[in-house]
């Protein structure tokens, strides 16, 4: 068990007054709140900050902590002064410390803020925690209902409500056809088990589309970028264009523009109503990497004969 310097975590001096501690906590809580933050390890940092504030916000806890602080150094193993007795593992006043560290409960026992409070339902037992996770799926998998194996960590709590470990759980989840990026799927009762007769928590999956090497997603439609030689744009051509499930033959008309979009109905993603969106094919002119003198001469001939000024309205 390592010592935690709560002043250091909040970035305040050990002499800071309550107001400064509160301000520092609020600022860091906003910065690292897992629902708000994009920072790496936001959740762990948020927990650290909450724990630090919990220890320092009341005068008696702070005094108790200040006494011990003389015997510890941040990040170093902590054993306390001679004769000091850790309180970890002894039940407190019916509340729990949630996910606070062993270090915190060794000092304060189970006198944490707990999950309860004004907002909570008072029922028998405590409901298990919900588990949230992202599930990456390939675009191909959204066309039909697919079963996917989902593996996730379920937190385990002891009777006193302390987080003791995680267990790994696997489920086969049916992903409905037509799911969208960011959509949430709730699996009732698949979260952490309830304590003392409380209901199980739920599992929430947030669907994330894995980036596709060829297709981009625009609502129900897909976009593919089709490379063409300049003369293919000029003269027209027929090209086999990949779709999510196979290939289609696309006729590019003569005189097509670079960047122009053509659309193929029914080759996009599946909507909730079961219909397929469009596949947009965006034409992209690609120049040959090198050209010898013969080719150069041909371009020169074209330049003279075409007498075209693309910057007429520039």
């Amino acid at each position: 068990m390592d010592f935690k310097d709560y002043y250091k975590i909040l970035g305040v001096e050990p002499t800071a007054d309550d107001k400064a501690i509160k301000a520092a906590y609020r600022k860091l809580a906003r910065k690292y709140h897992p629902d708000v933050s994009k920072e790496k390890d936001a959740e762990a940092k948020f927990k650290d900050v909450s724990e630090a504030y919990e220890a320092l916000k009341s005068a008696d806890k702070r005094a108790e902590y200040d006494d011990l602080r003389r015997y510890g150094q941040h990040g170093q193993p902590f054993q306390g002064p001679p004769g000091w007795q850790s309180r970890g593992g002894f039940g407190g006043g019916g509340q729990d410390t949630g996910d606070f560290s062993d270090f915190f409960s060794s000092i304060f026992g189970n006198r944490g803020p707990g999950f309860g409070g004004a907002e909570s339902r008072r029922s028998s037992g405590r409901r298990g925690q919900d588990v949230e996770m992202e599930l990456a799926i390939f675009l191909e998998e959204t066309l039909s209902s697919e079963s996917k194996k989902v593996t996730f960590q379920v937190p385990q709590y002891n009777a006193a409500g302390q987080h003791v470990s995680n267990t790994t759980k696997s489920l086969n989840v049916k992903i409905p056809a037509g799911v969208t990026d960011g959509e949430r799927i709730r699996l009732k009762g698949q979260g952490a088990p309830g304590v003392g007769g409380g209901a199980n928590g739920d599992l929430y999956l947030t669907i994330r589309f894995a980036p596709h090497p060829k297709f981009d997603v625009e609502g129900e439609n897909l976009i593919i970028t089709l490379p063409l030689a300049p003369w293919e744009l000029a003269l027209g051509t027929e090209v086999a264009v990949p779709t999510l499930t196979g290939k289609i033959n696309l006729k590019v008309p003569a005189g097509s523009q670079n960047g122009q979009r053509m659309r193929a109905k029914g080759h996009g993603l599946r909507s909730k109503a079961g219909e397929r969106g469009y596949l947009f094919v965006q034409l992209k002119a690609v120049m040959p990497k090198k050209s010898d003198d013969d080719i150069k001469a041909l371009w020169q001939e074209l330049a003279q004969k075409a007498a075209f000024d693309p910057r007429e309205n520039f």
Partner: protein, 101 residues
């Protein structure tokens, strides 16, 4: 193809799934953060999506010591940020296919 399954919850089920009291949920609705169908609390029907929203609202309010107005604003902005990030991600991916290195 069958129509997608839409899960609806009444107030009691909603409270159980979010572990929030009914008084608290009513407060969230009064601030326009949740918009259940139905006129009175006993007729209210919530969607799955609103479960996440309610839990997130309760957490933001508690963790950041916000007023409900602040929670509502934060949720709106977070939603917008998320949409913008998704759009940005998609446009960058598009751009990557058009720009020549």
């Amino acid at each position: 193809m069958s129509s997608p399954l839409i899960v609806q919850l009444d107030l009691a089920e909603f409270c159980e799934a979010t572990d929030l009291s009914d008084v608290y949920v009513i407060e969230i609705v009064e601030h326009g953060i949740l918009e259940p169908q139905g006129g009175t609390p006993k007729d209210w029907r919530f969607t799955d999506y609103e479960l996440t929203l309610a839990k997130r609202a309760a957490k933001l309010r508690r963790d950041l010591e916000l007023e409900w107005e602040g929670v509502a604003l934060a949720l709106n902005l977070l939603e917008e940020v998320q949409q913008l990030r998704a759009e940005n991600r998609m446009l960058r991916q598009r751009l990557g296919r058009l720009v020549v290195e």
